[in-house]
Symmetry: C2
Subunit: 396 residues, 2 copies
């Protein structure tokens, strides 16, 4: 007998893989300028620092980093993360923090803990496409949350909560992926009240908050949470290294937290202790503030260049983020960024078509542009190429 | 509103955590002799070697180990693993190997890919309790496979396949956890034929195969597989380090393999590149054969001491494994190893009650004993304490 597609689980049958990660396979082409992906700049990565830290922690902790560890995480790291997230207004006990394989795993565990097949989850539209794929593996029903320039419109969110009784709301509040938008202060507080008032768990995914190039930092949604409805998720992927796969969930809701732990125990037992100890030492030894200042300086210049490139394209609308890694652009109605990708890649420029970020599909005139992983000269060149391509297409 | 248990997902509500990992919390007590867990000996862990290798790979591969990587894994490691598993008779292409967070994640991804809620999975009874918990998070129905001294009885397996039409069979063929039994050669071939003949995916979990202290190595079930029904899963946790969390799945079934990759993409994007590169270099630089010889020498002595300790306890039956980490013991009917644990721990000896390894429960007269993580003197002492306790109980 041969194994065929129909034997797969119902949820996995339709999944064909993340659009971004498929685009990654195109990027090996020599000379490619990639505005796809969400990679940190290569110059933001510090192999020598990480090598020194790895040596140091293996000397300090010895075999303990190589033995099995607790699912709940490496004790010193829990303290370091609790301290690290204080600046967002979150008062966390170390025991309320669960180290995960990136914030992505934190979301996966939260969906596993809270959702049955067919349950409704409210998501921003557009939102992070990795999250969309995670939701699909659990067979939940996604309902899009309308936004304006300040992020999710809370009145609309309330109406959707009343209509659909969702189990979960998934929000990226700061320099949102893919839009670059930041949720306003009053809306943060109000969304938190809606979560507690209607009994909806709010997944706050905040991996970009420290990449701010202008404007004032806002407190996390979690900082307004009095009843434990918000699960805060962060990551060191954009700050230290995505390759180390270190993120975390924070929850002061003991019922939910315990199920995140049990879910992780079942999925992968615990996060690697060496990686946990490296991130702990990075935070503890004080590398982070200087590193953030340096990469924010570079990324700010790259963002400015990308926005200048967009200004030069007539008829295009785009966000002007205060931080993060992404700019969101809308071509005139009727143009198709999804179809245009092939030609862009042929001219050595890649981006992610915006349709992939919408749970309801459509929006083919939109695209996401990443600026962190391209040098200034590449951004100038790439935006010129895109401008020419868009102008040709708009005349066609 | 307050979050309560009834709001959790149906599958996660009843899960209260792995019995082993809860027992771990007792083990911090000073002087505790632990035959619980499945930890390698502390002396089997090599922090200095891993530190040197970490430095070397970060120097060689630089920022590439810190950037995002492919879900499919770090290319050199795929080659190294393909080469490493050749000795078990498996001819694997590097592209048929998926690095995972331990073999446990490989199983989690396989269940995700193949099983809907309510589907039947055949499991050995007893079997690895981490696997039992993983199955429960997917809401599958577990049916126990009867065994004798040579492992699963294939005629019974065939009858259960006909009766239940399972999606998956989960088999630990070599030095099984927890029984220590090894599946006979003819049975390996026959189980593989049953999988292909009836269309049941066979999850072959083989993390102990290189820890052989006597007897002849047997080819993996996978080595008999002509139609891609067996997914082979291995781990470096028992050989190099559990803390690094490196294992793998191998499948030459393109449909299944693709869904394992997509499942991993959704769960945690990819395994940490530093950890993948460390294991690759460990294999590539030739550390493994000498290391295996050294730890097998130690473990063989520890196993011998534990078997001697068991011989001295009248009325107890136990397995005599040719390798691995565990011995399985049965007290006389009517005795209760589950209840006895509290007293054993009070006398500073821990084990895992056998009931936890049985999907159907019961079997309270059984227990699992680990010998790898206790020094010879601890094994002598601990077995004396257990003997006294069992004798007292059997007279009571």
């Amino acid at each position: 007998m041969l194994y065929d597609e129909t034997m797969l689980s119902r949820h996995m049958q339709p999944l064909t893989g993340s659009a971004i990660r498929e685009i990654f396979h195109l990027l090996g082409k020599p000379g490619m300028i990639s505005f796809a992906g969400g990679n940190p700049a290569v110059t933001a990565l510090e192999p020598d620092v990480i090598s020194d830290i790895a040596q140091k922690v293996l000397k300090t902790h010895g075999w303990r980093l190589l033995q099995y560890g607790a699912t709940e995480g490496f004790g010193p790291l829990l303290e370091s993360i609790a301290h690290f997230i204080e600046s967002s207004g979150i008062k966390a006990q170390p025991s309320q923090i669960l180290p995960c394989q990136g914030a992505g795993q934190a979301l996966d565990l939260l969906v596993k803990a809270t959702c049955n097949e067919g349950d409704v989850v409210l998501v921003e539209s557009p939102t992070f496409l990795g999250a969309l794929q995670t939701f699909l593996t659990y067979g939940v029903k996604l309902v899009p949350l309308p936004s304006d320039g300040e992020g999710v419109i809370v009145e609309e969110a309330e109406a959707l909560i009343k209509a659909h009784h969702p189990k979960l709301m998934y929000i990226i509040p700061t320099f949102q992926n893919p839009s670059g938008k930041t949720l306003g202060l009053a809306r943060r507080q109000r969304l938190c009240e809606l979560a507690a008032g209607y009994g909806v768990v709010l997944a706050e995914d905040d991996p970009y908050r420290d990449l701010r190039y202008r404007g004032e930092a806002l407190p996390a949604i979690k900082s307004f949470d009095k009843e434990g409805w918000v699960v805060y998720m962060g990551s060191f992927s954009k700050l230290i290294s995505p390759g180390l796969r270190m993120g975390y969930a924070m929850s002061d809701n003991p019922t939910l937290f315990r199920k995140l732990v049990i879910g992780k125990q079942s999925a992968d037992v615990h996060s690697p202790l060496l990686n946990q100890a490296i991130v702990d030492e990075y935070l503890r030894a004080g590398y982070m503030p200087g590193h953030i200042a340096r990469i924010c300086g570079d990324y700010k210049k790259q963002l400015t260049l990308m926005l200048e490139g967009l200004e030069a394209i007539p008829g295009i609308a785009f966000t002007k983020p205060e931080g993060g890694l992404f700019v969101w652009a809308e071509l005139p109605e009727g143009m198709n960024a999804t179809d245009m990708l092939r030609e862009a890649v042929a001219r050595n420029v890649a981006y992610v078509p915006g349709t992939h970020f919408h749970c309801e599909g459509g929006h083919h005139n939109t695209l996401r542009l990443n600026f962190s992983n391209s040098a200034p000269e590449q951004i100038r060149q790439g935006m010129e190429i895109l401008k020419d391509l868009i102008l040709e297409k708009s005349k066609a």
